[in-house]
């Protein structure tokens, strides 16, 4: 057992810290991409090829390790600047893994440069956690797909250039074995997108596809083969989804707020802060365990679920505590505490709910099929 960074990793971490200095004002950690404030930041990252840090060199990346990617996004998370964009993560890594040479040439350079963005459009009104129940259908008609159906709860699709759309290309009864992934231009005729404001200032969207026509070559990977591709993409991204840097920063901000208000003299407050400090230390190790597994090419579903559980619950615990310490100024928008509370609510829902994560741990770690 060893917990340390190599000299090269330390140097990279310091390089990232120096790079982030001029961007520290983007400290609200509100959105992943498409915000005008963040696009400039992402393009600055793109100039260093850091959005494609771990892509293979042959595909335009730097071929760096998953641990380097963890270091990069953990530093960004600590500064509460941004989440890792889906376009450079799940989307691009899926194209790298399953795309044809033509598709790679078409999409990867623009994604790498942040010249285009994509929104994950998986969930539907009747298929949230249960994605195998997706109903949005793509019918093959010659050299096109014609897509009809509804999507919902997809982040910022109204501001994205393209949708990374999960749709049904086979029988409904085939569940996950009849799903495909298709890239859909946002400006496609028949596509309507309505933004739904989220309590943290972000946006979900409600999407209607009314006979949206898309070329067959926009399908990535085999028809009806999306399920395993999504699983592989999820495994590729586990180490950068829930990062301890964000929790550490949240806790430090709350601690500084409490001290500024003199509430740290209250033994009840101090006790709760110490509980949170332990929570954050636990979360750091949970995220490191997942980062090591991804770096070593080990599939670790139970460990990843545990990491998600710990991070999202601690995130909420910090925010709730901050609002319950009795400091009236916690509700002032300029202070930066109430935003933690608003941001934390979605964490236990997006990317797999707490209930789903508990199911994964129960099944994988304890052999319990807790499905009822």
């Amino acid at each position: 057992m060893k917990i340390a960074l190599t000299a090269e990793q330390l140097a990279f971490r310091d390089e990232v810290r120096a790079f982030l200095q001029p961007w520290k004002h983007l400290n609200k950690y509100l959105v992943s991409e498409n915000s005008p404030d963040l696009m400039e930041f992402f393009r600055a990252m793109a100039k260093r090829n850091w959005l494609s840090l771990v892509w293979p060199v042959a595909d335009g990346g730097l071929g760096r390790s998953a641990m380097d990617e963890f270091i990069l996004w953990n530093e960004i998370a600590y500064n509460r600047i941004a989440r890792a964009p889906h376009s450079v993560g799940i989307v691009a890594k899926t194209i790298v893994r399953y795309g044809t040479p033509e598709q790679k040439a078409q999409w990867l350079p623009r994604i790498r440069a942040m010249d285009l963005t994509m929104a994950l459009t998986y969930s539907e009104p009747e298929a949230g956690s249960d994605l195998a129940g997706v109903r949005c259908r793509a019918e093959r008609q010659g050299d096109h797909y014609v897509i009809t159906g509804n999507k919902c709860w997809n982040s910022r699709a109204h501001q994205s250039d393209y949708l990374w759309l999960l749709c049904r290309t086979g029988e409904q009864s085939a569940r996950g074995k009849a799903l495909s992934l298709i890239i859909v231009p946002r400006e496609s005729p028949g596509l309507r997108i309505r933004p739904i404001e989220v309590m943290d200032g972000n946006f979900f969207t409600e999407i209607t596809c009314d006979a949206v026509k898309v070329p067959v070559e926009n399908r990535i990977g085999p028809e009806n083969g999306a399920w395993s591709m999504m699983g592989a993409a999820l495994a590729d991204e586990r180490h950068v989804q829930f990062l301890y840097g964000r929790l550490r920063r949240d806790y430090e901000d709350v601690l500084n707020f409490v001290r500024a208000n003199g509430a740290d003299r209250d033994p009840v407050v101090r006790h709760r802060l110490r509980e949170l400090a332990i929570d954050v230390a636990e979360a750091e190790l949970q995220s490191l365990r997942v980062a090591v597994a991804v770096n070593d090419g080990i599939d670790a579903p139970a460990e990843s679920a545990a990491n998600k559980l710990v991070h999202t619950l601690v995130c909420q615990a910090i925010a709730r505590a901050a609002m319950e310490f009795g400091c009236e100024s916690a509700v002032l928008v300029d202070i930066g505490i109430e935003i933690l509370w608003r941001q934390s609510m979605i964490e236990t829902i997006g990317g797999g709910t707490t209930q789903i994560m508990n199911s994964v741990v129960a099944r994988q770690r304890l052999g319990l099929n807790g499905t009822k």
């Binding site: 057992m1 060893k2 917990i3 340390a4 960074l5 190599t6 990793q9 971490r13 641990m67 600590y78 301890y244 840097g245 550490r248 920063r249 430090e252 601690l255 500084n256 740290d264 101090r270 006790h271 802060l273 110490r274 509980e275 400090a277 332990i278 954050v280 230390a281 636990e282 979360a283 750091e284 190790l285 949970q286 490191l288 365990r289 980062a291 090591v292 770096n295 070593d296 545990a306 559980l309 710990v310 209930q355 508990n358 199911s359 741990v361 129960a362 770690r365 304890l366 052999g367 319990l368 099929n369 807790g370 499905t371 009822k372």
Partner: protein
């Protein structure tokens, strides 16, 4: 790669050795193990395994703190009776001349705050926590005190003797094995309860298919693994001689305590009525966890010693930046 959570061959060997020893000396099942009470012979047998010398100062050491944590986790799983945390504390507090007998298991250490002393009836060496200092105690009288954990505690009359040092400087030697015992006991309870839930049928179903049963067990095992990671990381830091090691050890002990208490109640509930019986599969360990949580210095008291800012384990620069 400098980052790995795999134990090395020596740690695996120590774990296997302690596990086999527990099976030989206590039996293989909870039913057998809960009937085994503390005895000087049992304690000496554990000493012969070299466990007390793990993390010992200087040339006495047969291994480091991480080795100790691995061994103590297995002892916790098996409910091995005896004052392990007090013993490890004593190997760092006592003069070298007395440590030898402690390492050999021929001197049993009692550590507490008079008048109530854990293992006070059997203790050959008594150490007290008085005003934040570890002091030798001269016991003038002992009266047996029956406890929840079934261990040989005593109400004593004692006089404080030689000062052996600040507890703050020594407490990692106490916190680490205590936390590891609790994690081990917690994992044993949760895994046992999960096995029960995977086989017991009610309403025509395996009860583990009910989320109301499965989810609390999942939450408990996640909490225990978090504590286990933190304990091992703290031990690693101590083995490296890092300044943040003692703080992390205290945090890890507190993490282990809350996780083990959660595991206890989840296991009791998962077993239903069987879980509430004296001879059942949970009580023999849960009562130990409850006792470890309150014996001096209790988790509650220890929490007050934890700084509000804990160092990052991988990277201390972030904490320095914030402060």
């Amino acid at each position: 790669m400098l980052l790995t959570f795999r134990l090395d061959e020596q740690q695996d060997a120590i774990g296997d050795s302690v596990k086999r020893f527990c099976q030989r000396s206590l039996g293989a099942t909870p039913q057998e193990r809960q009937k085994i009470e503390f005895s000087p012979n049992l304690w000496r047998a554990l000493a012969e395994l070299g466990v007390f010398a793990l993390g010992a100062p200087g040339e006495d050491a047969t291994g480091g703190f991480l080795d100790l944590v691995v061994a103590a986790e297995h002892l916790g799983r098996a409910g091995f009776p005896g004052p392990l945390p007090a013993t490890i504390l004593a190997t760092g507090a006592l003069p070298a001349a007395e440590v030898e007998a402690v390492l050999a298991g021929t001197s049993l250490v009692s550590f507490g705050r008079p008048p109530l002393m854990p293992w006070g009836m059997a203790g050959d060496i008594s150490l007290g926590l008085i005003d934040g200092r570890v002091k030798r105690l001269d016991i003038t009288s002992r009266t047996p005190a029956e406890t929840l954990g079934g261990e040989g505690w005593a109400q004593v009359e004692a006089k404080a003797g030689a000062d052996l040092g600040a507890f703050a400087d020594l407490r990692h030697r106490y916190d680490l094995p205590l936390g590891a015992l609790m994690v081990g006991a917690g994992l044993a309870m949760v895994e046992s309860a999960a096995e029960h839930a995977a086989n017991r049928r009610q309403f025509g179903q395996i009860i583990g298919t009910f989320q109301g049963v499965a989810f609390p067990l999942a939450e408990a095992v996640v909490a225990l693994e978090s504590a286990q990671l933190l304990l091992r990381a703290a031990a690693l830091r101590l083995d490296e001689g890092a300044a943040d090691g003692p703080k992390l050890a205290l945090a890890a002990r507190l993490s282990a305590g809350r996780a083990a208490r959660k595991a206890s109640f989840t296991a009791h509930q998962s077993y239903g009525a069987l879980g509430a019986t004296r001879e059942g599969p949970v009580f023999w360990l849960s009562r130990r966890v409850a006792q470890w949580s309150v014996q001096t210095p209790s988790d509650r008291e220890s929490m007050d010693d934890l700084p509000l800012e804990l160092p990052s384990i991988l990277d201390t620069q972030q904490v320095e930046t914030a402060s």
